[in-house]
């Protein structure tokens, strides 16, 4: 038996006997087994320190081993103390020892080694340290998956000892309480994916657990097809799922072997599209990405929008390679990529595709193309005017321009096309004009009568001013009390316009025609610039560009200020204002008025008062 001042340790199993072997000891001389402690109710209120143990029972049997210091304790030599690499073994195979609780205390009363696992029932007795352990406790208490335990106090550390600094302590106790449970197998994870990084840094995983790892491609890379990340676990291949954000996730729901992560991300190349009125497909699926992947095979097909066809070959360019898409002689709404006579392309560089589907002939005039360029586009086109197919030779492409007009109406922006001068592709796109006429709604006005009598109709003049056209007379009977809508229809080819005024019922009450544009000179044809830039209709120069209706109505006026005017009207005096004289007066007396006052009032009214 040891005497006082010796440190002792207990390793206690709550559910199964245990033995030990091996280990490196420091200042340990006494080893042995403890007598099992039976019928422990760790759920009772007396055992408040233990009732939080996992799967706490009311009839546990505690088994244990003990060992103690070979050297009496003193303030300076109690540490290092303990055992390392002590192999614990249970009575059954395939189990692992799990630490549930560490209990430390100093004791100033007991001075003998315990012969059975001690159970402290005092509420304040010692320190009770529950998992998860922090870095300090794991520094002297730890256990591996193979049940190799370390209980080794390397220096004087008071943190986990109760009253350690007391000068009266006589005994230091360390109690490790745990249990045996079925051991799980740990599998190794090997990651050899390329050009990507997973969000799960685990290098091992317990058998039966679910393993998930989401990979993000490195900058300039992306996941695609068979090269995306995948895992092999126990001979089974687990493909990743590519997420909407471009990441790829591998999930193994029940790990039962080592995991090898392979695959990875592929280098991206830019996909530069200049598509007009058509959509790019890869095989049967619309292709919406702005990149293509190195080494990947793409079956690119261009589908023109409704009412558009390919009248020119779409072109592609990849590094130094260039080529056309193939067009069917039957169906000009589809163009397939052609690469070394294959209907696919394998990527090794940035890819550029230019395609220009034009309006179907049934919606166009055949001989001409009509564009609606912006000023900047027009400026750009003007710089393409002189084309040089060979050194020193120039072709004036304005020969292919029929007209250029400036219109004062807004042209609907339906689609864009590349601008062609004859067969020459300017590589400049502009909006196209698809309608035969452009309708401009000038809004609605309501015309009310002014006098409410015949003066609004007799001798009245009503005109509607129409910018670019002039004025038209309106019939008062068709105007008063009506909501009138004004619309223009303009031919974009030559600027001819017609304006018409309709009632809310759709009745047209007036119309007129004019021109809403002027020619812009572009050439010096026939030796006379005056052939261009002129217009018979110069009304576009008129200041007012807002249409209006002007009503010139006769209105009858009384000459109020003429005192000589003889009215001879019988009125109530309160209806008068200004200077007024009365001849006959019917006085309605409200207040008491004496005769002198009455006479004076009558006299004043007859001579004129100001009301």
């Amino acid at each position: 038996m040891a005497t006082n001042n010796y440190i002792q340790m207990q390793i206690i199993s709550r559910n199964m006997d245990l033995t030990y072997s091996g280990g490196n000891y420091t200042k340990v001389s006494i080893l042995g087994k403890l007598t099992p402690l039976t019928n422990i109710d760790v759920t009772s209120s007396e055992n408040t320190h233990y009732k939080s143990l996992p799967n706490a029972g009311n009839s546990e049997t505690w088994y244990g081993i003990k060992f103690g210091s070979s050297i009496a304790y003193s303030q300076t030599n109690y540490a290092p103390f303990g055992v390392q690499n002590l192999q614990l073994e249970s009575v059954e195979s395939g189990l692992k020892f799990v630490i549930d609780l560490v209990h430390t205390e100093t004791n100033s009363s007991s001075n003998t080694y315990e012969t059975f696992p001690f159970l402290r029932q005092s509420a304040t007795y010692g320190k009770f340290i529950h998992p998860p352990f922090n870095s300090v406790i794991n520094g002297w208490v730890s256990i591996t998956e193979n049940n190799v335990i370390k209980l080794y106090v390397s220096n004087v550390n008071e943190t986990y000892f109760d009253q350690l600094s007391s000068a009266y302590r006589t005994q230091l106790l360390i109690q490790i309480i745990g249990h045996w449970e079925t051991a799980t197998t740990t599998y190794i994870i090997t990651d050899i994916t390329t050009n990507c990084i997973g969000d799960n840094p685990q290098t091992s995983v317990e058998g039966g657990q679910t393993y998930t790892n989401t990979f993000t491609p490195n900058d300039g890379y992306a996941f695609h097809g068979v090269n995306k990340p995948n895992a092999v676990c126990a001979g089974v291949v687990y493909d990743s799922v590519i997420n909407a954000d471009g990441t790829a996730t591998i999930t193994i729901s029940n790990v039962n072997g080592n995991i090898e992560l392979t695959g990875g991300a592929i280098r991206k190349y830019n996909l530069n599209l200049e598509l007009y009125n058509c959509v790019l497909y890869d095989g049967n699926n619309p292709y919406n990405l702005d990149y293509v992947l190195e080494g990947e095979t793409y079956y690119f097909i261009l589908h023109s929008n409704a009412n558009f066809i390919f009248k020119t070959f779409p072109r592609w360019n990849m590094g130094s390679e260039t080529g056309d898409f193939a067009l069917s002689t039957i169906d000009k709404t589809i163009a397939r990529i052609s690469w070394h006579n294959y209907q696919y392309i394998i990527i090794d560089n940035d890819l550029r595709i230019q395609a220009n589907a034009t309006l179907s002939p049934n919606l166009k005039y055949g001989f001409v193309s009509i564009y609606n360029p912006t000023y900047d586009e027009l400026d750009e086109l003007s710089r393409k005017r002189f084309y040089s197919p060979t050194q020193g030779e120039f072709i004036d492409l304005s020969e292919y321009v029929i007209s250029l007009r400036k219109l004062y109406v807004e042209i609907p922006k339906v689609a864009r096309e590349l601008v062609f001068f004859g067969k020459y592709n300017t590589n400049i796109s502009a909006n196209i004009v698809t309608t035969d006429f452009i309708e401009t709604d000038c809004g609605r006005v309501f015309i009310s009568e002014l006098n409410g009598n015949s003066l609004d109709y007799n001798g009245v003049e009503i005109e509607c001013y129409l910018p670019f056209i002039g004025s038209v007379s309106l019939n008062p009977n068709q105007v008063y009390g009506k909501h009138l809508t004004l619309r223009y229809r303009t031919n974009p080819l030559n600027g001819d316009c017609a304006a018409f005024l309709i009632t809310i019922d759709g009745l047209q009450i007036a119309y007129a025609q004019g021109n809403i544009s002027f020619d812009v000179p572009i050439n010096f044809k026939y030796g006379n610039l005056n052939n261009y830039g002129t217009n018979d209709n110069s009304l576009y120069l008129v200041y007012e560009k807002r249409p209006y209706i002007e009503i010139r109505t006769n209105r009858q006026y009384q000459n109020m200020n003429n005192r000589l005017l003889n009215n001879n009207l019988w009125v109530q005096i309160s209806e008068c204002s200004g200077y007024v004289e009365f001849s006959e007066i019917q006085f309605n007396q409200i207040n008491k008025i004496n005769n002198d006052e009455y006479n004076e009032i009558i006299n004043l009214l007859q001579n004129g008062i100001i009301v």
């Binding site: 020119t312 166009k364 001989f367 001409v368 193309s369 009509i370 564009y371 609606n372 360029p373 027009l378 292919y400 029929i402 007209s403 250029l404 219109l407 004062y408 807004e410 042209i411 062609f420 401009t440 709604d441 609605r444 002014l450 910018p467 670019f468 807002r546 209006y548 009503i551 010139r552 109505t553 006769n554 209105r555 006026y557 009384q558 000459n559 109020m560 005192r563 005017l565 003889n566 009215n567 001879n568 009207l569 019988w570 009125v571 109530q572 005096i573 008068c576 200004g578 007024v580 004289e581 009365f582 001849s583 007066i585 309605n588 409200i590 009032i601 004043l604 004129g608 008062i609 100001i610």
Partner: protein, 146 residues
Amino acid sequence: MLALELYKVTNQPNELNKTLNNPITISGVFRTEIDCIDIVVEIESNNYDYNYVFIQSLNKYYFVSNITLVNAKVTRLYLHCDVLMTYKTDILASFGLVTKGGNINPYYSNVESDSRQDIRRIAFPYYFNTQNASFVLVTISGSGVE
């Protein structure tokens, strides 16, 4: 003693409605028997800057027709009733045959009147903004595959 409200009015005497300015209230005494049309009162004041009076006890308005300085402290006012202002309500409720003047509904007139042209302009909401003109370029169509 009676209360006098003194005013300064600038309206013409034959105006029905007077605008009463700079009111002050003082006390005075009658110097004559009251006949309501013309009365004389004496007041303790040397301020002559008033030409109109309202006498609450008589409920009548008066022109100040004359002022006499009785002594250094007493001023005598000669007042004449303004029947237009006093009986304004009665007059407005009365009827009369207008012989001259008066701003009356012009369309009641059956005699001399004047007809002039009245011009109204009603603009449509939309206007053609020449700053937003469009260009239309027409070229010969020569592109394309057969």
